[in-house]
Symmetry: C2
Subunit: 494 residues, 2 copies
Amino acid sequence: MSKLVLYDFIAEPGNNELTVKEGETVTITNQVNLYQNSSSAFLLPLLELHLRNIVVPFLDCLLTQKCTFTNINDEQILIFKEAGTRAEDDEWDDEWDDMKSTGGYAESESGESGAMQRGGAHMGEVGPVWSYPESQLDCVVADPKKGSKMYGLKSYIEYQIVPSTTNRPVNHRYKHFDWLYERLLDKFGSAIPIPSLPDKQVTGRFEEEFIKMRMERLQGWMTRMCRHPIVSCSEVFQTFLTYKDEKDWKTGKRKAEKDETVGVMIFSTIEPEGPDLDPVEVEQKCEQFSRFTKSMDDGVKEILTVGHEHWKRCTGPLPKEYQRIGKAFQNLSSVFTSSGYQGESTLTDAMTAAGKTYEEIAQLVAEQPRKDLHFLMETNNEYKGLLGCFPDTIGVHKAAIDKVKEGDKLVATSKITPQDKVTMAKRVSIMSYALQAEMNHFHSNRIYDYNRVMQLYLEEQVKFYETVKTFLSAISHSKLESVLFCCLIISTIT
Amino acid sequence: MSKLVLYDFIAEPGNNELTVKEGETVTITNQVNLYQNSSSAFLLPLLELHLRNIVVPFLDCLLTQKCTFTNINDEQILIFKEAGTRAEDDEWDDEWDDMKSTGGYAESESGESGAMQRGGAHMGEVGPVWSYPESQLDCVVADPKKGSKMYGLKSYIEYQIVPSTTNRPVNHRYKHFDWLYERLLDKFGSAIPIPSLPDKQVTGRFEEEFIKMRMERLQGWMTRMCRHPIVSCSEVFQTFLTYKDEKDWKTGKRKAEKDETVGVMIFSTIEPEGPDLDPVEVEQKCEQFSRFTKSMDDGVKEILTVGHEHWKRCTGPLPKEYQRIGKAFQNLSSVFTSSGYQGESTLTDAMTAAGKTYEEIAQLVAEQPRKDLHFLMETNNEYKGLLGCFPDTIGVHKAAIDKVKEGDKLVATSKITPQDKVTMAKRVSIMSYALQAEMNHFHSNRIYDYNRVMQLYLEEQVKFYETVKTFLSAISHSKLESVLFCCLIISTIT
């Protein structure tokens, strides 16, 4: 397949890029890593986001609709003049072989993936907002089960996911979530921050604690995706949640993999109801949001740092100290018991009880972080991930605005027609609708999430202090008061 | 003054002792450090208690009433054949010059100090107990005032002491307490543990915190002395508490300094009401108490070690961490406030309140040890001091018992007469009455003190957890619940 290069591109040394010039021809072999230029091709690192070089051709394509572009993998993208074709996915890793699609590139299916879901945005009280579905999708990730294949040679963990819409469970392994993540990132990543999945892990994958933690984080990730009106309505997401059988899943999977409405193309599926947005205001909003996400990122990281230290103290030295206090009380109590002196059993009972209580407090202290700090940390961790996605999204947007600003100059030098300029402005307005709707979606979710986590944290903290208080006052009142009374009598009588 | 040496004494190298033989003559100069043997004298380190060498001559003196002995200072003791004379006290240190006694050794006053208070002991339910006075003496140490002398060149702190008996305040400086301590140690040290005074301190003596702490410890020491039926009734202690004017104090002071009923002589002032004690039982009791005080010493030291560490954590890293948590919440709250998004002030108010609360908690945590751990530490510190006195007291006793056990052998070899043996047994019985009464006094005080301090500790801990709980639930309920409610509505409506 030979393709025409649309724009000059100067490769940066060490980035695995090729320098190509407008008018050159790109030849594509079937292997991702073997894309070659018959003296001309370009492979753009997307995730590293060399915005200076990439975004402009990117956006020109989009804004003037003169080209399409194709993600090859996470890191590389090709731009072609005509409606392009897409390369086959990387070989699924070893674990994927059980469900590997039939393989090979089926040209005939290409056309089918054109069907798109249209996302709506309208003016709300806070500015542009997404059109939210009437009932919010939700799902429960639960019941992790060990499965095996290849006559037991390979083991894996399968999670059950039950969507609120069908109430019918589907099963997925971590790698399926990872596959979904990749699809969502390809498709929506330019407009919507798609947070990373919980980390892959090689060792300890089958330990109960790890499985529980991963499940909890997959649940968090799925909940966030479910809450998003654009993501949750997408065909790929629905397929993941509601496939009927193996065949259905395979078909949906293949279709999603061939979807061409990915990258900045997603903006073409957004239909804002409302007038075009004022570019100056848009730029200000964008700046403000950029500053906000940066500060929030700092704030979130601060909480994570402090929380991590506090976690260590609460599960390490602090309970150890309470334990030692408890032991010291009990030890002194048993020394007292050995005195041979009459009538001090009430005191020694109380001291032993106090000692045991401090050992219980040690336990409470050590267990507490899992009850409150855990969710505070998890939420902030999720937000750290989300916030990490914004600089890219905002970067694309800023570059688009800059391009529109150049509009008059481009018309004057005949680089684009006046009609092109109008189209560009229209499209930037759509992008701004999307970004602002996303900003508002982020804000309302943030308020909801932080409110929930703060309330949970404070409630659990209150419970903790209440429990410790109750434990301590049980000894303080029932035992010692009577002893003190006795002692005073003895000491004044003798 | 030449005195005859009664027993052979082999000096241990490096102990500042002199080897003397029975029949040698001791010459005494007027300076403690210049006691010399005109080839013969012995200076026995008492506090280091080289029991092998010292106690036997000691007790022989006492048991057979063939000699008297004189404390020279804390570390040295002289034994003479005839009723001895006593050396002058060390020069008072610089601080003492305002009240220095006329000085010089007044031979004529020597006889007057013979007046003794008789201490009673009788059989109680728990065995031998002291006869306690009908109303217990108490005193309040308060109102530390800075005084000066030598035209302001020298400053000192004077404390006011008000005894419950007269309700009339007397003033004393630390060095007066120290003088009293020395007198009590000389007089009662063999039978009654006299705990050390709070440490002397050269720098920072006039800092408020130090003065407060010293006053509190002097109060603790005085309270313990007041509680002791033998100590509190002694002339020297009464003089200290109730002197009428400067002249009265000086007279009393001189008299106390010449008191010859010191060291093991104190046992001769004790008149037990009851039958002689069974030596085997006495030995068992003594052994048991010895083991007990050793274990309690370990237990007390363990509490002090753990308590010290806990104190450091509670006043250092822990509140710093709560402060950082508080700051992190407040910081994130102010980031949220900058979002420009409408309707999150309830959340940010709650987060700010939570942040401030954690700063308050930091304060509470840091202040808490002064409210509870402090008294636990002070009490255990006092007991550590008290327990440190027991090995000497018990050592004297054990040696006395051993001596009585040798009685038959000594009679057989004509070292003592059969009448001497009877006298020895009688006197050991008196010592045992005293030791057991002291043991029981110690036990009852211990129960009272530990009960009080445990109750105080637990009550203050309960208050602490209650306060923190109240602080936290104030935010958790009033602020966040309504926010959560609002959020849920917004999130389902939009």
